[in-house]
Amino acid sequence: MIYFNSFIFCGLVCALGQIILDKTNLTPGHITVIFVVIGTFLDVFNIYDKIVLWAGGGALVPITSFGHMLTHGAIQGYNEGGILGLFNGTLNLTSAGISAAIIFSFFFSLVFEPKD
């Protein structure tokens, strides 16, 4: 059942992005930024945590989960270390994703030649 939920949720988010992309003049860059900000907002009232419980991996794959983890880390940091924790903890949970993207793309760009 959780597979069905994750299919529905992730599909709906992507379809919504596609409708925005087709109906307006925004570029894919704008769309991803909009969805990250939506994700950061949805974590304020713990809405996204409930979605993660409902949809499992389907809620963790879209870029909204990136924003969700940013806010989650910031609030976790605040609970542990006060205002300084807001700065300390923001990247705590997402650092793996950012580092992985940078590390893999650096080494692959050394190894592979660009196509076309």
Binding site: I2, Y3, S6, F7, C10, G11, V13, C14, A15, G17, Q18, I19, L21, D22, P28, G29, I31, T32, V36, V37, T40, F41, D43, V44, A55, G56, G57, G58, A59, L60, V61, P62, I63, F66, G67, L70, T71, G73, A74, I75, Y78, L86, T90, T94, A96, G97, I98, A100, A101, I102, F104, S105, F106, F108, S109, L110, F112, P114, K115, D116
Partner: protein, 145 residues
């Protein structure tokens, strides 16, 4: 006169196949979600990774795959076909980083890769951090913690 002109323009503007595009994005995005969920359960049950780290492992696997497929040249065609089905998931973030790194490779290690790697995906990081800072500050000020 102007009304007629507008009508003619509307008639000849190519109709974007919005329904078709949305359907493709829904299906491919859904498949990405199922793959993500499958990877989490795979890491949890077969590799006995704790639940929180399984999520990180899943994200790293997806980022690795999309970086590899982008540098092999397949991913650009898939993105052209699926559009938001692959841009909205974390694969789009990795794809943007990887394609910028490949494109500017010939301009040198520092001035090419170093300066331009986060050209497209930097926006996601910057606005994500700004947004999360603003919202979590509001939340702490209001006292919702």
């Amino acid at each position: 006169m102007e009304d007629n002109y507008q009508k003619i323009v509307d008639k000849h503007t190519p109709k974007e196949k919005i329904f078709y595009n949305t359907f493709i994005a829904f299906i491919t995005g859904g498949i990405m979600g199922v793959i993500g969920n499958f990877l989490i359960e795979f890491y949890e049950s077969y590799m006995s990774v704790p639940a929180k780290e399984a999520t990180v492992c899943m994200l790293i696997t997806l980022i690795f795959l999309s970086c590899l497929l982008t540098s092999l040249g397949f991913f650009d065609k898939w993105v052209n076909f699926c559009k938001c089905g692959l841009i909205i998931p974390i694969t789009g973030f990795a794809h943007a980083t990887q394609s910028a790194a490949l494109e500017y490779r010939k301009e040198g290690l520092v001035t090419g890769i170093g300066v331009n790697m986060l050209k497209l995906s930097g926006a996601v990081i910057i606005y994500g951090i700004i947004g999360s800072f603003v919202f979590s500050l509001i939340r702490t000020l209001v006292g919702l913690v």
